[in-house]
Amino acid sequence: MSEPLLEVQDLHTVFSTKEGQVKAVDGVSFELNAGETLGIVGESGCGKSMTALSIMRLQRPGRIVGGKVMFKGQDLTRVSEYEMREIRGREIAMIFQDPMTSLNPVYRVGWQVGEPTRLHNGWDARKAFSSAVSMLGRVGIPSAASRARDYPHQFSGGMRQRAMIAMGLTTTPHVLIADEPTTALDVTIQAQILDLLRDVNREFGTATILITHNLGVVAGMCQRLIVMYAGKIVEAGPTADVFAHPKHPYTWSLLRSIPRLDAETHEPLKPIEGLPPNLVDLPSGCAFHPRCAFRVEKCSRDVPALLRVGDTQQAACWVTQSGTELKGG
């Protein structure tokens, strides 16, 4: 396989709070290859958004305290702020969770969608606007030429997210980071936006990092999958393999907690017991052990490393690393 497009190596991002230091991203490493779609899954507060923001160096008020983000031979954690601005929007674009608030209310949609090309390609307002119109058309905004003159409040949530995607694509970036792009949308619109992201990936060859807490979204979109818990990657591997044979109890619990249409009528849902950990005061050993159905004595003592388990997957779990299969109802 050729050189990965984006390589995150042992990334650490911390926040200082009154209660102490929060390790929002704690030694995360992964690769993104050209043209692929990578899913990052986890609960709220597990560090998945912070990982994405750290790649873009938008983690403020957090601080990157260690690791590298290699992109085109450069370490993005070390380039100057000016160079970083040239990369943002031109090479790596980002789409945010809430399309209702991601567009500036005082500007016409077309103006905003064209902003990256004015910044990076040096286009004048007219050229940027007409490119914005054609891009809005390509992401499925009907009568794009007239709708581009609308203000954001005249767009529905789904249309705003399409506009955000169009804005991300005007400069044909190599990487698109979509941070929960469908969470704030209703279900039918979600499917449309996911279809659009898939088309974009195919048509533009844009490598996509899809951040979500929705495993169903990952199943339909991503070739590979990363599962995060308390700032760490706990499992990584090809989506199909992870779904078929999860190698970390957290992934196993997540998959088991999805409501199924083919379940018995009165079968209760199976939530994960306990609460997500307090990031200021993490449990000793494996951060998941207090909620884990498979824990052994070692789990509360030593932190497991992310190691190969099985043929294609990696997991940070003492139990599966010793060869135990995760089973049970």
Partner: protein, 316 residues
Amino acid sequence: MIDPAAVEVALPRTDVAGTAFRPAQSYWSESWERLRANRVGMAAGGLVLLMVAIAAAAPLLAAYVVHHNPFGIDLYATFSPPSGAHWLGTDEDGRDTLIRLVYGAQVTLTVAFLSVTVSLLVGGTVGLIAGFYGGWLDNVLMRFVDILLSIPAIYLLILLTILQPKIGPVQLSTSDPRSLAVIIAIVSWGGLSRLVRGEVLTIKNRDFMLAARSIGASDLRLVLRHLLPNVLAVMIVAASLNVGAIIITESILDFIGLGIQPPTASWGNMLTNAQTYFYHSVWLVVLPGALIFITVLAMNLFGNALRDAFDPRLKS
């Protein structure tokens, strides 16, 4: 059998293109619509505009309409009541009251609008910087504003008008309306900067600011293109409400002899000797006072109308 008509209905419509069309209305044009609907506000705004027009046309009025000039002393016609020769009477030196009021308007309005512009520029800039960058810079700037706001404004004004400090090449002197405007602005920008800072704090953490950052916008661009247009409405409203207060301040300074110096006419200094003449020449007291009152009231009504037009909380 499936009814083909039912299938037709269930199919997604492909012609939705034009159906959702509404004319684009910006925040500004919507606000303008609301402002226009406010009759009191529009009348007040019109009155202020009329005052400005009269003040600007003062030399023309002096030459072609009133046929007096503001310094024309006529010791044979002191304290003459309103008449054909002097429509609004004369003062203790026989000067025409009407033309002095018109020239006084020039002074008062220059001071008011210039002063509000300067305090908007200074207060707006400080508020934007303090709110956007936060941290120690915010602390330093806001503590300075706290100190400024803790000193009684009238005390600071008296100090400034007596010391007449030099700022760069500009000598501040109270005989010049432009200097007086700067002096008043020095005292009044603090409140504005606090207001702008507060507004910036609520807006800078909105998602569109992060989104703008994520496409590679610089700090300068973030502040000027994304932040400023969102706080501009609040700044305009605060400024328009400030104009009235500045007119009052200026009148007080003139009245106590620290502002515009005679023989230059201003509404404030026309009142200075008025208490002595009140019993025999009531117009010398009532006219400047009424003009101050009407202008301040009009400005405040217009400011309120602007606030109602811009305030997002009142938006449907």
